[in-house]
């Protein structure tokens, strides 16, 4: 890999190290109990919303009421989105006269945006009207991220509060995340994107006569506003099929690096906010370090794997060398302006988070290069994860880690002074088991069904990777794809939607239950026998738990997919 490639990687690292404490300190104030910056601007807007919706701003909720509010909001908002997609042919802002979408695809898409997955069994430019993009999909991009943040904040409150039955108010956390975090950031970033060439209009598709005398369709759309929240909320659903590879979504290397940074910014910053709220910044940094190390290692693997190129293309006479006049590398499915390095950096970041936006075709990565995003998602997207979902995922693994450490020395484990007992551990195990069961179950079933196999776009072990990736991505609410799979069938639309729902709510509800249970306990003072959790040793243990407990579940299928392809194909 070139020096410029490493410099690009270093630039993202610097941006993260700067933004984590700055944004984290702000987030801690947004979710804290005291005055927050910008109250004068935001409070009137929020109070207007509370008044219109009948929310009692100071009313605290028990964990089960908090969960019920989350479920009620999810249920209503997904129905509204489903109706919008089905009926878009009769609604305004549809200059290309796109029709309503079929029931199975509408169900899959509505669930996909509800759950912050943004798996797309359709091409945006030829399926969704401008109205659907703005009031349907972009709205869910905001609230699905905000709901994730709310659950993470509830878990933090459960950890840091003592002897309380309540965890805050879901409606308030949801609203404040939108008004104070996601909207201002998206607005600012949308302007930057437009200045770089990302389009923003409500035009119909324009057909022009090209230089060579044929015709080309140039699409319109409210892209910049969509693109900003797509990255900031780790949604990843592109208004166009090619996603962030499309020049109208991601026109140049500056927007590319900004997009990578933005999709990492809030998940990393939430660890700092966690430390702040726990009044022990070391706890936050220990969690940050585990996420950061995983991201760093995975990114350092994939970037050289892709810039090295594919020996198969080299054998056919293609030059993949890095020279002064070409960037080289495995360029199938990649854009010339980003090169193989810019693709690897994006691919690892989008799958370490729950984003799933792509700036190159993951299906065409080298076998081991393609294993990186797959394994990133399998680890549960904790490097650094989605808005909120990354932090609560890592905190669940932290509970698992102190439990394992406790088993080794025969003591009741504690985390932030809270005793971790059988009630919490049962929920932790549920959290860890649900997703693999769904992924391996559905992927296994697909291999036995003839009509499911006929959707595969590639033969051999790569086909196994393709179908495994599809369910891994959906069950973990990522949304990126090995795009060769034709997912718009009754089987994949339905099973995918089920996988997404399980991966969202069967994880959020145990997390809220853990938060409720911990919140009722009184923190005990640390003693000589307490395992300290703000140390590098704990970070190492936490990272190992993620790799061993979660990673090993998928070892057989990763061996049969990417590893067999690599070895048998002589890559």
């Amino acid at each position: 890999m070139t020096a410029a490639g490493w410099a690009q990687f270093a630039a993202v690292i610097v941006l993260i190290l700067v933004s984590t404490p700055v944004l984290g300190a702000y987030l801690a104030k947004v979710y804290g109990d005291h005055r927050a910056p910008g109250d004068r601007v935001f409070l009137p807007v929020e109070r207007l919303i509370y008044r219109a919706t009948g929310v009692n701003e100071t009313g605290e909720q028990r964990w089960d009421v908090y969960a019920l509010s989350l479920l009620a909001f999810s249920f209503v908002s997904v129905l509204v989105l489903y109706a919008q997609i089905r009926l878009q042919g009769h609604l305004p802002f549809n200059p290309d006269h796109l029709k309503g979408v079929t029931p199975a695809l509408s169900f899959n898409t509505a669930v996909s945006f509800l759950t912050n997955t943004n798996w797309q069994n359709y091409s945006g430019e030829s399926t969704m009207s401008h109205l659907t993009q703005m009031t349907g999909l972009a709205f869910h991009n905001f609230v699905s991220a905000a709901a994730g943040a709310a659950v993470a904040v509830a878990l933090i409150r459960g950890l840091v509060r003592n002897k309380t039955g309540t965890l805050g108010n879901f409606w308030v956390d949801l609203t404040r995340t939108c008004t104070r975090v996601l909207l201002p950031m998206s607005f600012a970033f949308a302007l930057v994107l437009m200045s770089q060439g990302v389009i923003q209009n409500v035009h119909a598709t324009r057909t022009v006569a090209t230089v060579a005398g044929s015709q080309q369709s140039i699409p319109g759309g409210p892209i910049a506003s969509q693109e900003a929240i797509k990255e900031i909320g780790q949604n990843g659903g592109g208004p166009y099929n090619a996603n962030s590879a499309h020049p109208f979504e991601n026109p140049n290397p500056i927007t590319n690096v900004l997009q990578i940074w933005l999709l990492l910014a809030i998940p990393f910053a939430l660890t700092f906010a966690f430390g702040r709220m726990a009044k022990d910044q070391g706890q936050g940094w220990a969690v940050f370090a585990a996420m950061f190390v995983l991201w760093l290692v995975m990114t350092s693997l994939i970037m050289p794997l892709e810039t090295r190129g594919s020996p198969k293309l080299g054998a056919l006479g293609a030059s993949q060398q890095v020279t002064a006049t070409q960037s080289g590398g495995n360029m199938e499915g990649k854009e010339a302006r980003f090169g193989a390095a810019g693709c690897g950096l994006f691919a690892s970041s989008t799958t370490g988070t729950s984003t799933g936006a792509v700036n190159c075709a993951h299906d065409s990565l080298t076998p081991l290069g393609g294993a990186v995003p797959l394994v990133n998602i399998m680890l549960g997207e904790v490097s650094p994860g989605g808005t909120g979902s990354g932090l609560y995922g890592m905190l669940v693994f932290a509970l698992m880690s102190v439990f394992i450490a406790g088993l080794m020395v025969g003591r009741t484990p504690e985390y932030l002074g809270k005793k971790v007992q059988s009630a919490e551990m049962k929920l932790v195990v549920l959290y860890i088991l649900f997703v693999p069961v769904v992924i391996l179950g559905f992927a296994g079933a697909s291999l036995l069904l003839k009509h499911a196999l006929s959707s595969l776009g590639n033969p051999g072990p790569h086909g196994l990777s393709e179908v495994t990736y599809a369910f891994t991505s959906q069950a973990n609410n990522n949304g990126s794809a090995f795009g060769g799979l034709s997912g718009n069938t009754l089987w994949y639309n339905t099973t995918g939607a089920v996988a997404m729902l399980v991966g969202r709510f069967f994880l959020m509800i145990p997390v809220l239950a853990i938060a409720g249970s911990l919140g009722r306990k009184q923190a005990v003072p640390a003693s000589a026998g307490t395992f300290p959790t703000a140390t590098p040793l704990f970070t190492a243990l936490l990272t190992s738990v993620v790799l061993i407990v979660v990673g090993l579940t998928y070892f057989p299928v990763v061996s049969l997919g990417p590893v067999v392809e690599h070895l048998a194909g002589h890559f």
Partner: protein
Amino acid sequence: MRRQIRTALAMTIALIILTGVLYPLAVTVIGTVAFQERAAGSLVSAHGHVVGSALLGQSFSDQAGKPLPQYFQPRPSAAGAGYDGLASGASNLGPANPKLLDAVAQRVKAYRAFNGVGDGTPVPVDAVTASGSGLDPHITVANARLQARRVADNRHLALPLVLSLIDRHTQGRQLGFLGEKVVNVLELNLDLDRQG
């Protein structure tokens, strides 16, 4: 429960207005005022007609799909029949898929024949692989230089002039280290047409 559903419905409406209507509307208004040309798609005109977008690649082939020798050729495209603006996307072929390997082998042969370079000449990888979007507006400098002689011969232009046009439309790494050095094919070809 009924109260929760009522709040949920009201909250859905309130946040749709805020994030789904007011936010994109504000961005659109500012875009139209401050970044008019870019927000509309960086459209490029020649002889008073819009011929494409500076950000989107397009085909330089005749009606039968054969590449026109007087133009620099873009990368292979998996978007529809090639550079279809309503069908962006990649080939999604795996790295060992025989379909990919056959296509690349055939493109390498066609590239060498079309540009009159020897059988042993390594072909720049971007010239024989499809991009992620199918709308990649760029090629590498190495690819452009290998095409220069063919273009110069077909237009009866001096090779140094064509090479200098390539240099003029080469975009270096942004800020010196971001991305890769590339040539914008549409802008280069339009400039060639202006040379007469």
